[in-house]
Each structure stands twice: as C-alpha cells, then as structure tokens.
C-alpha cells in the first residue's frame, strides 16, 4: 500500500515537472553559457585590430617600404617553403602513413619535434648547425655558400617549423587509402608513378590540401626561428611578423596594416581548410 502511494506521488511529481519543463530545459542547457568567455577571449582581440585602423589608412600605408617589403619577403619565402615542404614531405608522409618499420616511433617523434620545440630554440639550433661555424655550415662556406642571414635561412626556418603540419595531415590521408584499390590498380598493370598519380594523389587530395594550407599559414607566422637564424634586414629577411614586431616600436601604422593582412590571411586559410575537410567528409558518406 505504501509503495503504491509513493508511485502515485512520483507520477504526480513528474506531471508537475512536465508542467515546469521550461525551467528544467534551462537548467539542462545553462552550462552552454560557460563557453562564452573563451569565445569572447578569442574574438575581442581580433576584432580590435580591425577597429584601430581604417581601410583608407591601410591602403595609404601599403606604399610604406616596411609594409610592402615585409609582404614581399613573406610571400616569396613561404611559397618556396611550401613547394619544398610538398616535394620533400610527401615521401616521408607516405612512409609514415602506410608502412610499419622498426624505427617508426623514432621517425614520428622526430617529425613532431619541431612543433613542440620553442621556435627560438629551433632558430638557435639552426644557427649552430648551419651557421658558418657549425658542422654543416662550415663545409658549405668552404664552397662559398652562406646560409645564415639570407632568404635561404628564412626558408629553412619556415620549413623546420611548418613541415610537421603537412606531414602529419598527409600521412593520415595516405593511410586512409584502402589497400584494395592499390592492389586492384597493380593487378591492372599500374606502375609506381601511375599508382601515385591516379590512385594515391586523388584519394588523399583533401588531406594533402588541408595540410598544405595549414603549414603555409604556420610558415607565414614564423618569427622566433627566423630572427635567430636569418636576422633582420629590410627587403631581404624581414618577414611580416618581424616587421610587425619592429613596427610596434617605431611605426605603428605599418604594424597595424600588416596585422590586418595577416589576420585576414589566417581567417581565409582556416575557412579554406573547413571547406576542404567538409568536402572530404561529405565524400565519405
């Protein structure tokens, strides 16, 4: 008898709860408000950059050497870096993505190392290795090749810092290709280059593209390793981030303009990656 009473009372309580559903739903979803602080923390600084300058001032400052030289050096070096990353990184990504071998853990750790290493440490290491008093650099300087303080050093610093992003993404893309397709193509007589061009590349293209965009954006923002290894010289090794850092102290207009440009490029890169990856996932469905 007592149990029945309790059951009846419980039903009444749920009926009461059903009537009070609006507050119940609020209580269930209130936690979502806690995401606002972090989102605002990301959004506000980025928006403020755009509010501190006007489009006309941006256009006017484009003729400032610190702005257009910084842009030119950055674009030139990052495009060369991207090319080298794609050419040199693809075989490595393919190896990591599709094969098991004895030293695989070591290789993967080595490839991930530049992302965890502080960039200034990377720059110092590059200078000590490839500077003219370093083991590699001294040999090169014998043959008249200097690396430190040249655009080549900028490219090397960018490749060191940015290639892991491409290699990781590409290796996942390569690894996701089903063996059956490869075997079927080989049965049909495809050689290694045909295999790569008609099967592997198309099937992994979204991973390769998004990895490439990611590593290019990272190379564009590279600062610590660059200033250590390549130094700072307007028009030769002064990249956009370096120009912004210097501009902050002496030429605020240039710094603001370059910041707007860099934020714009970063946003576009991320949107591009989203489009690519959403195409990739929709293809899988």
């Amino acid at each position: 008898m007592v149990e029945q009473d309790i059951v009846v009372e419980d039903r009444a309580a749920t009926r009461k709860g059903a009537r009070a559903l609006p507050s119940g739903r609020w209580a269930k979803n209130a936690w979502r408000l806690s995401v606002l602080p972090l989102l605002a923390f990301f959004l506000i600084p980025i928006v403020v950059i755009f509010t501190r300058t006007t489009p006309s001032r941006i256009l006017a400052s484009l003729s400032d050497p610190q702005v257009y030289q910084g842009l030119a050096v950055s674009l030139k070096t990052t495009l060369i870096s991207l090319g080298l990353i794609l050419v040199l990184g693809t075989p490595l990504a393919y190896l990591i993505g599709r094969f098991k071998f004895k030293l695989k853990n070591l290789v993967e750790t080595l490839v991930d190392l530049p992302t965890v290493l502080p960039p200034s440490v990377a720059g110092l290491a590059l200078l000590l290795a490839f500077g003219r008093t370093g083991p590699i650099g001294s040999v090169l300087s014998h043959w008249g090749v200097t690396l430190a303080f040249t655009p080549a050093a900028v490219v090397m610093a960018q490749i060191f810092i940015a290639s892991p992003y491409y290699i990781r993404s590409a290796s996942i893309g390569f690894g996701s290709i089903e063996d059956e397709y490869m075997q079927a193509a080989e049965l049909d007589g495809a050689g290694p280059w045909q295999l790569f061009r008609y099967i592997i590349l198309p099937m992994a293209r979204y991973a390769l593209l998004s990895g490439g965009v990611m590593s290019w954006a990272r190379a564009l923002g590279e600062f610590g390793a660059t200033i250590m290894f390549a130094g700072n010289f307007l028009g030769r090794t002064q990249t956009m981030p370096l120009a912004i850092y210097l501009g902050f102290e002496s030429n605020l207009e240039a710094a603001l303009t370059l910041s707007v440009i860099l934020v714009g490029i970063s946003c576009c890169s991320l949107i591009l990656i989203r489009i690519i990856t959403s195409r990739m996932s929709s293809k899988l469905e």
Binding site: L127, G131, R132, A148, N232, F233, Y245
Partner: protein
C-alpha cells in the same frame, strides 16, 4: 583494506601539506637598522642616502620593477643585490631588454617603478606619453662604442677602415635600438673624417647583414663567429671575459658618448623606494659598480 587505503591517503596529504607550508621563511638575521647604512667600500665618507625614519619602522615587503636597457644587465644586477642587502624588505625584479621595447611596454601600462634607458630618445617616448614627467629623467652614466670581431678574426680586421671592406659581414642593432642609433651617428661622424672618406658610411652600411633587436644579440652573433664584425658598447665588450671577441677601439673624436637617463615612473606604487633606488644608482656606490663594468660615471 579500507584502513590501509585511508592510511596511504593520510600519508599523501601529509606530504603535500608539508611541502606547501613555508619552510620557515628565511628571516633576515636581526641587524640593527643603523648597521644597514654601512657600506662595503673602503670610502670613509660614503655619501649614501640615509634611510628615511618613516620607513625604518618594520616596513612591509615590497617589490620594485626596474626596467633597464640590456647593456645594464651585469651592472644593475650587482646594484640590485647591493640595494636589496641594504633594504632587506625590498625585492627588485629586473626587466632587461632593448630600450625601445621597454619604452613600448611602459607606454602599454606595464607595471614599472624605474626606467633606465640607453638613450634620451627612448626616454622621450615615455615622457611624451605621460608616464614619466619631462623634468624627472636624470643622466646617470655614459657609455661608448667599440667595434668587435670574433676571436679568430676571419675577415682580418685591423683598422676601422676595414669595416668598409667589400664582402665583410657586419651586424648592427636596429636604428630604433639605442646602440643602433649611436652606431649610425658614429658613421656620420666618421664620414666627416678625412682618413676614412666620405663614402665610409655607405660602404659600411652595404656590409650589414642583419639589424638585431638588442645589443646582446649583436654581441652573441659575433661571439659565435657568425659575423665578421659588430658595433656594441665598450661595456658589452668588457663582459666577454673568455675572450671570444677582439676589440677595435673607436677614437674619442669620432666616438659617440651615449647618455643613459634614469627616472621614476609617475604612478609607481612605491615612490619612495623607487626614488631611493635612483638615488643609489647616482650615489658613489652605484657609480662605483657601474665603473667596474666599464661604464663612464657621471661627473
């Protein structure tokens, strides 16, 4: 099982608690305040600022934030230790960087009590923005420039004229860094010298491979042998005790006398101790420490 588990938990908590409680904060040995004014230098009449009686009565612990040019790293480190020994309730935190970086930070409301710049331009950047009154900065020390080269002297630099040799790798500091601005002034002076010639400045600037963001970077890259030569302060060259670099003196007639101003920041929460620090730097003891590091004391 439960009691054993409870015992382990208790042990862990006890360990954590013992690690967290301050292990008897190092109480300074009771020294009568009068003895604190005694200095270690053998000067019989040390003109040292006396401790105001107001702060002689068990003052609360405070931290002073001193922003100083990177060329002052060694000297101010010693000055800071001496100051903390005299005023045990004060802890000094130094921020050493290029003066242009410090000026920017101060104008961005960084917490600073004292600013010691390597040139008047960067001090003016701060006085113009208002955090230091225009009348407050005082010169406290001078410095001079010197040309340096790596110990091995790969470019065989013997005279100042060699800095204009084609193909030389020269490192200077950026023109916004005081030592970089001073170096450009030296080149202007040199261009008026008959023995160096009117093209000296352009030829030397053609040899620059990098404009660094502070003087220590110039020194390090020359020490590493990555460049053939650099221009730094005589005080920086003096810090190289292991002889990684050689020095090429710049004659006084062409040299630039760098003037370092120091000032208390207007809104410092510890105005009296900040002023005491500035006074110490300007005192005989402070100037002695600076001279030890190769600076030229203010007359």
């Amino acid at each position: 099982m439960r009691s054993r588990f409870g015992f382990v938990v208790f042990l862990v908590l006890a360990l954590i608690a013992s690690a967290c409680t301050p292990q008897g904060s190092p109480a300074p040995t009771a020294v009568p305040l009068t003895e604190l004014t005694a200095t270690s230098t053998p000067e019989p009449t040390a003109t040292v600022a006396p401790i105001p009686t107001a702060i002689a009565m068990h003052p609360p612990a405070i931290t002073l934030n001193v922003f100083a040019a990177s060329s002052l790293t060694g000297a101010f480190g010693d000055i800071g230790k001496a100051f903390e020994a005299r005023y045990p309730w004060v802890t000094i935190t130094f921020n050493f960087a290029g003066s242009q970086a410090l000026a920017t930070q101060i104008n961005s409301a960084a917490p600073a009590d004292v600013f010691a710049s390597a040139n008047n331009s960067q001090m003016e950047v701060v006085t113009k923005a208002g955090r230091i009154d225009t009348s407050v900065p005082k010169p406290f020390v001078n410095n001079r420039l010197v040309a340096i080269y790596p110990r091995a002297n790969p470019a065989n630099i013997q005279t100042l004229q060699d800095l204009a040799k084609p193909g030389l790798k020269l490192i200077l500091a950026d023109k916004t860094v005081p030592v970089g601005a001073y170096a450009l002034k030296y080149l202007d002076n040199a261009a008026r010298d008959a023995s160096l010639g009117a093209n000296y400045k352009t030829d030397v600037l053609k040899n620059v491979v990098s404009y660094e963001l502070d003087v220590k970077s110039v020194l390090t890259k020359v020490e590493l042998g990555e460049a053939d030569a650099g221009i730094v302060y005589t005080t920086d060259a003096a810090t190289d005790t292991t002889s990684q670099t050689g020095q090429l003196a710049i004659p006084d007639a062409l040299n630039v006398i760098a003037v370092y101003p120091i000032a208390v920041v207007k809104d410092s929460p510890n105005l009296s101790m900040a002023q005491a620090f500035v006074d110490y730097v300007l005192s005989v003891d402070g100037q002695a420490i600076l001279t030890r590091y190769g600076f030229i004391p203010i007359q």
